[in-house]
Symmetry: C2
Subunit: 513 residues, 2 copies
């Protein structure tokens, strides 16, 4: 299998009958003999060097890039290079993940992330999009993004980076290219371009080898970006025999269901809940963030563990989901998301027309501030988790499938790594079938971009893009119908959650004893 960049040793043959009698045609012929490709082009800068190089050397090392259906000779070296590098990049709205890959050794030599510098112009994407309506401003976003990437790569030998594989959501892709976003943010939400041809990195001011190429993952729509395409490519949804889910939960919950025959997708604002964004005491996974709660009504205790064992500054999304599941199972939280005060009176307080559950009291020795969850917040959470479940349900319905016919639930992003699937199921965020069949894939988008360096299968990417049917939730009446039942923990239809039902029955049994 051909990689995005390939090092090919060429044994230079002397001109004689049967060999092309043109220097560049001879080099193409030698590359063809080694690779079988007949569409080969040679970077114009090399036309001037090749006549001398092939006469001075018996062996040369060709750096050959795969560009759609053809090979392009990017460089011809007199000695074997130490490194031939590629760089995969996932431009997230918060962080930019980078993977440096060595094509010769076939291994990742470095993997790291940097903050997305666009945050200065808006925490959320919408603010940035509004900022970017002015031509000068979109150019600012473009410039700082490219500069951040160039600067992140400055400790590597940039001359030896021959290929960039980049993905991001639709807004990020527009920012990267400096494309107008004016019509992306108004009805009918039209992106500028879908399929971006392989470009020269220097056209984008990306620093690498002077002839380095960039592949940018195509977009499916305003709400379905190249990051998701990369994720599908990573897990190979489009090649599976039996249908699978791919969930990428960030600011939005983006979900794709499908196999080699079909792909249907939709995205909804189910994300904030899961990222902890709707909780006033929620925080990202920083030092001091509570990453785990243990609730014991029997002992009247809520124990917790923070990152770095520091004073608690807030809680992570994963911790609060687990806590809510425990509260529900132990009867402290009703299916409607209300606190049962007499189950834990010392921690439940009335505030602002509702109740809150104090997780860490202000006066607790180790605490700096009161950490709590209010019923108001839980209500928002229930909308999010309900949306999440409903999206899964809706996609299954559209495909004429039941959850039990879905083979895998690939869960990408930090959600997939951190969330306790059991808690998510108890709360009715994921169906029970996910218990046994979920698989955390990590940064699916970044890993998809990385996979492209190893397997630059343009046709496969095109297949994915062309086979996706995107469902607009706004205009989907059925979504609202289904959502209502999902606003309850775990769901109005308890029969869909037999294991949760059993847990609840066991608890009732205990209570009634």
């Amino acid at each position: 299998m051909f990689k995005a960049v390939n090092l090919i040793e060429l044994k230079i043959e002397k001109y004689n009958v049967g060999l092309p009698k043109f220097d560049i045609e001879l080099v193409k012929y030698l590359i063809n003999k080694k690779t079988g490709y007949d569409k080969i082009s040679v970077e114009i800068e090399l036309w001037y060097k090749i006549p001398h190089l092939i006469r001075k050397n018996n062996n040369l090392y060709a750096i050959v890039v795969k560009e759609e259906d053809r090979l392009v000779l990017l460089d011809l070296l007199e000695s074997k290079p130490l490194n031939v590098l590629g760089c995969a990049i996932d431009i997230g709205s918060t962080t930019i993940a980078l993977y440096i890959y060595d094509f010769i050794a076939d291994q990742i030599i470095c993997e790291f992330s940097i903050d997305n510098p666009q945050i200065v112009y808006g925490d959320d994407i919408l603010t940035r999009l509004h900022f970017a309506r002015k031509h000068e401003n979109i150019q600012i976003l473009r410039k700082i993004t490219i500069e951040a990437i160039n600067s992140a790569l400055k400790n590597f030998n940039q001359e030896s980076i021959y290929f960039f594989s980049i993905c991001g959501n639709t807004a990020m892709t527009h920012f990267l290219l400096g494309l107008p976003v004016n019509y992306l943010i108004m009805e009918p939400y039209v992106p500028v371009i879908q399929w971006i041809p392989v470009l020269k990195a220097r056209c984008l001011d990306l620093r690498g080898h002077p002839s380095a190429r960039v592949f940018i993952f195509p977009m499916v729509g305003a709400y379905f970006g190249g990051d998701l395409v990369a994720g599908i490519f990573k897990v190979g949804l489009h090649r599976r025999e039996r249908p699978c889910f791919y969930l990428d939960v960030g600011t939005n919950a983006e979900v794709v269901l499908g196999n080699r025959d079909f792909l249907i997708a939709c995205a909804g604002a189910a994300g904030p809940a899961l990222e902890g964004g709707i909780f006033s005491c929620g925080t990202r996974a920083i030092p001091g963030a509570i990453e785990k709660f243990e609730l014991s009504l029997e002992r009247g205790e809520i124990n917790f563990k923070t990152i770095g064992d520091l004073k608690p500054v807030g809680f992570c999304g994963s911790a609060i989901i687990s806590l809510m599941a425990q509260a529900f199972v132990q009867g402290l939280l009703t299916p409607e998301g209300k606190y049962v005060k007499d189950k834990f009176p010392e921690r439940i307080r009335e505030r602002e027309g509702g109740r809150i559950l104090v997780l860490v009291p202000e006066d607790e020795p180790s605490a700096g501030k009161e950490i709590y969850v209010s019923e108001h917040e839980i209500k928002s959470f229930l909308r999010s988790k309900g949306a999440m479940y409903t999206i899964l349900r809706l996609l299954c319905e559209k495909a004429g499938l039941t959850f039990s016919e879905v083979e895998k639930f690939y869960v990408a992003g930090s959600f997939g790594i951190n969330i306790d699937v059991e808690s998510a199921v108890i709360l009715g965020m994921l169906p029970e079938e996910a218990l046994e069949r979920s698989e955390a894939v990590g940064n699916g988008a970044g890993l998809g971009a990385l996979k492209f360096l190893r397997e630059p299968n343009f046709e496969e990417i095109k297949e994915i893009v062309e086979s996706i049917t995107y469902i607009e939730l706004n205009t989907e009446q059925r979504f609202l119908e289904l959502l209502t039942g999902a606003l309850i923990i775990p769901h109005v239809d308890l029969e869909a959650f037999p294991k949760v039902k059993k847990i609840l029955e066991a608890r009732r049994g205990l209570c009634s004893e």
Copy 2:
């Protein structure tokens, strides 16, 4: 049929079901609907303009270029342009011919030529090639050639030139691109590149529209350049049912024989004679050059006509060929190329171990200098004319044909326009079959480049290049065997020239009366 550049009016449709929901994909869709092409790419500079343009206008004018198997959108205009121009260029070693073509009106709006500025670095190609061995020097040749073209075009609206179609011999093509010629001038005479992909004009510093493209005709070998490929393309040799000759006589005589099944070619130094280069009184067709002689032994006169009716400064190649034919027919010149002194004693003089025929005596009132032809010069001429005939004969032999099976003799270059075919046949430079079947094609190379603007058939050009078998005269023993007989006027084998034979017999009849 698609031209190299096409103006397409696009009616912008509003987004709705069935239309691609991406701005650039919409434009591609509209172009596809108008053209049927599905491989369409859009110049990156336009990505930034398109979103605004398609919303501001109901109609747009697309400038679309054909590039091998795909269309490229080069520009999108809000109003119909006055001109959409292309420029065809034939870079000859002496002059550069330019044709400005309007794609909309489908007509040539200007046709002119300029001196090739490389002449400063050598009158003949070999001197320039030696000069160009140094990298700095080849860059000088490149630069002055491009500058001469840019300057020749400066009176046209250069922004509206979207396509350049350029041909030249192999050396000229290397100079134009600044490619190393070091290995072109030594065994085994290897050019750098055969097939030059369509380039951006600005890569060559050619001034036109910022996105203008350049097509440069491919080379077949060191002695068979893109000019000849263009000539074959012009007359359509490769599409004919019955075999035809294509002769381009410049510094070299380049000859191709073939039809849709085969093309065989060779080139030899038959040219100088025909260009007047071997005659000390020969000159190019400048004012004062003798363009016509009339010899009358009966009246003892040689009359002549000069260009512009000025004092004679020398004679053109066409005039001297006609004169020699007259001299031969009238018995002043023997088949071996010797003067018969007593036929015209007042004009034949002994000089430098041979005889000369004085065409214009120094003391003639209208003359400034003596104008003559020596037997030495005629000997050189006989080698050239013999080579010319022998090349034709050899190619026929290789193809298993006789001259009578050749349908047409296309004669390109000034040779074709000026030479009296009858004189050439009498001297045995062309076979008698050429009398009825020759056709002057003018500047075949330049007209081929021009044809490409109208019919940019890349596949056809590839077919030509791939089907040519080139015969090296150096290594062709049969050439020397055949040449010997052709050094006689018209030929040792007089049976091959029945009409000439009849003329000679008629003269002998007259003499013997």
